[in-house]
Amino acid sequence: MAKALLNYLDPGAIVLGVEAGSDQDVIRILSDRLHRLGYVKPSFAEAVLAREATLPTGLPLGLDNNVAIPHTDPEHVLKPGLAMATLCRPVTFCNMEDPDEKLQVSVVFLMALNDKDQQIEMLQEIAMTIQSAETIAALMQSNTVEDITRLLA
């Protein structure tokens, strides 16, 4: 259902059941994966954190499990890629539409984007994934990277 996601979602950048104390922890963990896998420059993590502080990326889904899609400017990206985390306990992200509103987030997609026209498919499939309460629930219940790739294939 979301095949294009798998073109970008590196299995080495999928982290399940993360114990994170804050949104910043999750962003650092996933940025580190993308950096080690060669997708982003060393400056990426701090750039994402800085952007999150002023322009947050939490998306309210009206569910127990909200989603966040942190990202930053193309200059910190080497090649497009996607990292994903499910959290064993939600962390707080602020609402993209209203930074004063705090959201409990359990699924995080960290996006490394450098060309919007080439990555529109990935962006659309993230939106499609987010819009399916069933898929979000299934992602949360996945225990292995293979579960995730099967789910999204």
Binding site: R51, L55, T57, L59, P60, L61, G62, I69, H71, T72, D73, P74, M96, E97, D98, P99, M111, L113, K116, D117, Q119, I120, L123, Q124, I126, A127, I130, Q131
Partner: protein, 95 residues
């Protein structure tokens, strides 16, 4: 036939969520028989890009008093309230 209107799609980086929203709105309004010119920018660039724009659709907060209609919505990302958001956009573009 009146002049085609221009919609400016804004988000934090000008590349991620505004891209999703622009495509979703273009497709949905085409089905409603409406086409428009589409541009994208960062939220911080809206004020400098707004002169020839008829409507701004943003996923993030924008400065107040831009002097043009602004619709801030996450509906095209989360799916929640999509029909209502499209109705609002259509109303501005048909005006």
């Amino acid at each position: 036939m009146t002049k085609q209107k221009t919609v400016l799609f804004a988000c934090g980086t000008g590349i991620a969520t505004s891209t999703v929203v622009a495509h979703a709105v273009e497709d949905a309004l085409k089905e409603r028989g409406i086409t428009f010119n589409s541009r994208q920018c960062k939220a911080t660039e809206v004020a400098s890009q707004i002169d020839d724009v008829d409507l701004v659709v943003s996923t993030t907060q924008l400065p107040k008093d831009l002097g043009k209609p602004v619709i801030t919505t996450l509906a095209f990302l989360t799916g929640i309230g999509k029909a209502e958001a499209l109705d609002k956009i259509e109303a501005v573009l048909r005006d």
